[in-house]
């Protein structure tokens, strides 16, 4: 029994024959709670996508015995750069808080655009540092097709995550743009901002897992 949605009484009766091909933008805006639930359900499926990838990694790693694995070709595989990525992790996690401040500002009726831009820049920094790291590892002889499953899994997992971060940065920039140009988000209505936030926090949490299993242990 959950339906606040229907409390509005009707004013007009529906015409009998009605079939519009492009109704959605005339439809009343969807309740923020509904949007939020939709996002959460979607993120559950994202979580399962990463679980699938992570378990593939763990299975291969478990089977290899030692890590980096001994591929028998005498090539020493490089360790992962813990420190640099550690700093990068702090930046990404901090960006979640920064984004949170943006939401809080909007809830108080302020613009919050500065916080949004800051969060997007921090996200972009994260991607930038990852790119640097990818190039370095590439020169040390690791790539999707080099270094066996050690290289494959590292680049695939960080690649999937990096793509998610890029999408997140674009989404935050889009919110920023809407806010600066149209003052789109108000204290009363900021559904998209909230949903992008959920996504962004999710991407951060996934990274904490990935950092732990790919770099630390």
């Amino acid at each position: 029994m959950s339906n606040a949605a229907f409390n509005d009484a009707s004013l007009f009766h529906a015409p009998q024959e009605e079939s519009h091909a492009h109704d959605s933008h005339h439809a009343p805006p969807t309740d923020p709670k509904i949007c939020k639930l939709g996002m959460i359900v979607f993120l559950c499926s994202e979580a399962l996508l990463f679980s699938g990838l992570i378990s593939a990694y763990l299975v291969c790693r478990q089977a290899a015995g030692c890590w980096p694995p001994n591929l028998g070709d005498g090539i020493e595989l490089p360790p992962m750069p813990k420190l640099l990525t550690g700093i990068n992790t702090v930046i990404l996690v901090a960006s979640s808080f920064v984004y949170h401040f943006a939401e809080e500002a909007v809830k108080k009726g302020k613009s919050g655009a500065g916080w949004m831009l800051a969060a997007a820049l921090m996200g972009a920094t994260f991607v930038g540092v990852q790119c640097v790291e990818w190039t370095e590892l590439y020169h040390e002889g690791l790539w999707f097709n080099k270094g066996g499953v050690y290289g494959s899994s590292f680049f695939t997992l960080t690649g999937f995550h990096g793509a998610h971060v890029c999408i997140g940065v674009l989404l935050i920039l889009w919110c920023f743009y809407l806010q600066v140009t149209k003052r789109f988000f108000t204290a009363e209505r900021h559904v998209a901002l909230m949903n992008v936030g959920l996504y962004w926090h999710f991407v951060d949490v996934v990274w904490v897992f990935l950092y732990t299993i790919l770099y630390l242990i």
């Binding site: 029994m1 959950s2 339906n3 949605a5 229907f6 509005d8 009707s10 007009f12 009766h13 529906a14 015409p15 009998q16 024959e17 009605e18 079939s19 519009h20 091909a21 492009h22 109704d23 959605s24 005339h26 439809a27 009343p28 805006p29 969807t30 309740d31 709670k33 509904i34 639930l37 939709g38 359900v41 979607f42 559950c44 499926s45 994202e46 979580a47 399962l48 996508l49 990463f50 699938g52 990838l53 378990s55 593939a56 299975v59 291969c60 089977a63 290899a64 694995p69 591929l71 999707f144 097709n145 080099k146 066996g148 499953v149 050690y150 290289g151 494959s152 899994s153 680049f155 695939t156």
Partner: protein
């Protein structure tokens, strides 16, 4: 402003926009439309296209198995040269491509979209009293993702090397090594297609879950929801948890094939068995994704035509929940021969047998529902009853195979093929037929032709059993799955006549779709006009009459009691719609 689209809010929103806004007319109306009822029809007609393609492929395979090497009549010359030789007979590799395409198309492009895309879309809002889905645009996007993925899947037939011949299960390393499967492009397209198809299922599932949780009309508590809604709701949860794992696994195949990663390659430290684990972790929940909605439809149809409440409504719901949960811990029963540890295989065997318990509960409840009912012999009822009996046969062979010692013997034989056709065709598809006949009057506003319906039922029922029952015997006699020519094995010569029987059955089954299609297309245009509630049914979709406006309900219905109040003592009519209050002197079955 109301958060959901009801017919009223809709009209309000339209007021002053374009006075008599009929929107885009003609073909665009059917190509881009956010009304859940239209989307359901888009899914239906697209899947009918795929069922024809996939079915023709099955007939080509059956022809080859009965008459190896003989040119395939009619279809032979339509198939690309990677599959048939010049005279129109199948080449062995082509046979494998057909096996793969048939399985993939029927599971992902016929059964899933019809069960979930068509009936999920059509029924959920109408049955819970909502104006549309929570996210109508996302809903239409889901349809288009599905369509695109289908085009990609079929495109793999025409690339160099042809379609993949790795089966719908695409086991690595066959699928992940270009030199083994011979068609890296085809296999990649297969993976890409399933990835996009998965996105379509996920966007659909997000919509269904959100809609069911947040958009029920006043009075429609969870335990007053009709069983089809419960079934699709639980199915959507399974989709959310299972599909992404397949997507991940398929992505890894794409990477192995094209970017040189070594997830499934032993020489790079990868694990071929990893694919089987990921695939079946998805695959077993997937089979429940394919059966739960079917169970939901059958439960309701049996109740309506027995004029009795569903026996043990709550038990039905809990049984589906238990099936859904247990479904995630039984995947190992597909891998008994993979060399797994015997203790583990015993554990998987036990969990598989445990999952048969809720299935049996449901079966007994169906029997309880019709027991001593005032049974109405209609076409949908016939299909629903046939569903129960076929599901029992398929479920029983499932229990056989759950026992490791037996499965070691029958694994990868036609016994498996018999099993899953009994549960998928005899189960899911029979229930889909029941549902199509049952809801046809609501979808099209017309009645179907009864005689054609009965011809269709009896042909399907007889030829289905003729096709698939002998496969149990073939399997037990040792005939392997996925072989192009059984006659090359001495040990199989003596059972070759059974293969001919199966093929005759399959042709009959192919023909049986003709009265069905004729009935549908004729009745849509020429059938007698259907009344709003032709089956005297209690649920909300029967309270609106055709054509149902965008927004469905003129005023939001209020629900007063559970969904299956049939033959309530003390009432004049033998059913009490959910939106009608029971008179004070009447006590109801459920609340």
């Amino acid at each position: 402003m109301s958060a959901t689209i009801t017919a009223d809010s809709h009209a309000a929103a339209h007021h002053g926009d374009h006075g008599h806004g009929h929107g885009k007319k003609g073909i665009m109306h059917y190509l881009w439309n956010t009304d859940h009822k239209v989307i359901a029809m888009q899914f239906l007609f697209t899947s009918i296209l795929y069922v024809i393609i996939g079915g023709a492929m099955a007939l080509a395979m059956r022809w080859q198995l009965a008459f190896p090497g003989h040119p395939i009549p009619v279809i032979g010359h339509l198939l690309p040269s990677t599959i048939v030789s010049d005279d129109g007979s199948l080449i062995p590799g082509g046979y494998n491509m057909l096996v793969t395409m048939h399985g993939t198309l029927l599971v992902f492009f016929v059964a899933m979209p019809i069960l979930i895309g068509v009936f999920g879309n059509f029924l959920i809002p109408l049955k819970i009293g909502a104006g549309d889905m929570a996210f109508p645009t996302l809903n239409e996007i889901s349809y288009w993702l599905f369509s695109i993925s289908g085009v990609i899947m079929l495109a793999s037939l025409f690339v160099p090397g042809g379609a993949p011949g790795t089966g719908w299960t695409a086991y690595a390393p066959l699928s992940s090594f270009a030199k083994y499967n011979g068609t890296p492009i085809g296999q990649t397209l297969w993976c890409v297609s399933l990835f996009i198809n998965g996105l379509s299922s996920l966007t659909g599932a997000v919509n269904y879950i959100t809609t069911v949780i947040t958009m029920r009309s006043p009075g429609m508590s969870m335990f007053r929801m009709p069983l089809p809604v419960w079934a699709i709701f639980l199915t959507a949860i399974l989709l959310i948890l299972a599909i992404p794992v397949l997507s991940a696994a398929a992505a890894l195949i794409i990477f192995d094939l094209n970017f040189g990663t070594t997830f499934y390659k032993p020489e790079g430290g990868g694990q071929p068995l990893l694919w089987q684990h990921l695939f079946w972790f998805f695959g077993h929940p997937e089979v429940y994704i394919l059966i739960l909605p079917a169970m939901g439809f059958a439960s309701e149809i049996l109740a309506v035509f027995s004029r009795k409440p569903v026996f043990g409504y709550k038990a039905m719901v809990y049984a589906m929940i238990v099936i859904g949960v247990l479904g995630f811990i039984v995947w190992g029963h597909h891998m008994y021969v993979s060399g797994m540890n015997l203790t583990l295989s015993a554990a998987f065997g036990v969990s598989t047998m445990v999952i048969a318990v809720p299935s049996a509960i449901k079966t007994f409840n169906w029997m309880g529902t019709i027991w001593r009912g005032n049974i109405h012999y209609t076409v949908p009822m016939a299909f629903a009853v046939a569903f129960v009996s076929m599901f029992v046969i398929g479920g029983l062979s499932g229990i056989f195979m759950a026992a490791t010692p037996i499965d070691l013997f029958v694994h990868h034989t036609y016994f498996i093929v018999a099993h899953f056709h009994y549960v998928l065709f005899g189960g899911s598809i029979f229930s889909v037929f029941a549902a199509i006949y049952f809801w046809f009057p609501k979808m099209s506003g017309r009645m179907f032709n009864d005689t054609l319906g009965w011809i269709h039922f009896w042909m399907t029922f007889v030829f289905f059993n003729l096709t698939f029952f002998p496969m149990h015997n073939l399997g037990l006699s040792g005939m392997m799955r996925r072989i192009a020519d059984p006659t090359v094995y001495d040990c199989l010569r003596q059972v070759q006549p059974l293969n001919v029987v199966c093929t005759i059955g399959a042709m009959g089954l192919g023909l049986s779709t003709l009265p069905f299609l004729a009935n549908m297309f004729w009745s849509i245009f020429k059938g007698p006009k259907a009344p709003a509630n032709p089956w005297n049914s209690t649920t909300l979709e029967w309270t609106v009459s055709h054509p149902i406006p965008h927004g469905n309900f003129v005023t939001t219905p209020t629900v007063h009691h559970g969904p299956y109040e049939y033959s309530v003592p003390g009432l004049e009519k033998d059913y009490l719609p959910q939106n009608e209050k029971a008179p004070a002197h009447v006590t109801l079955e459920a609340h």
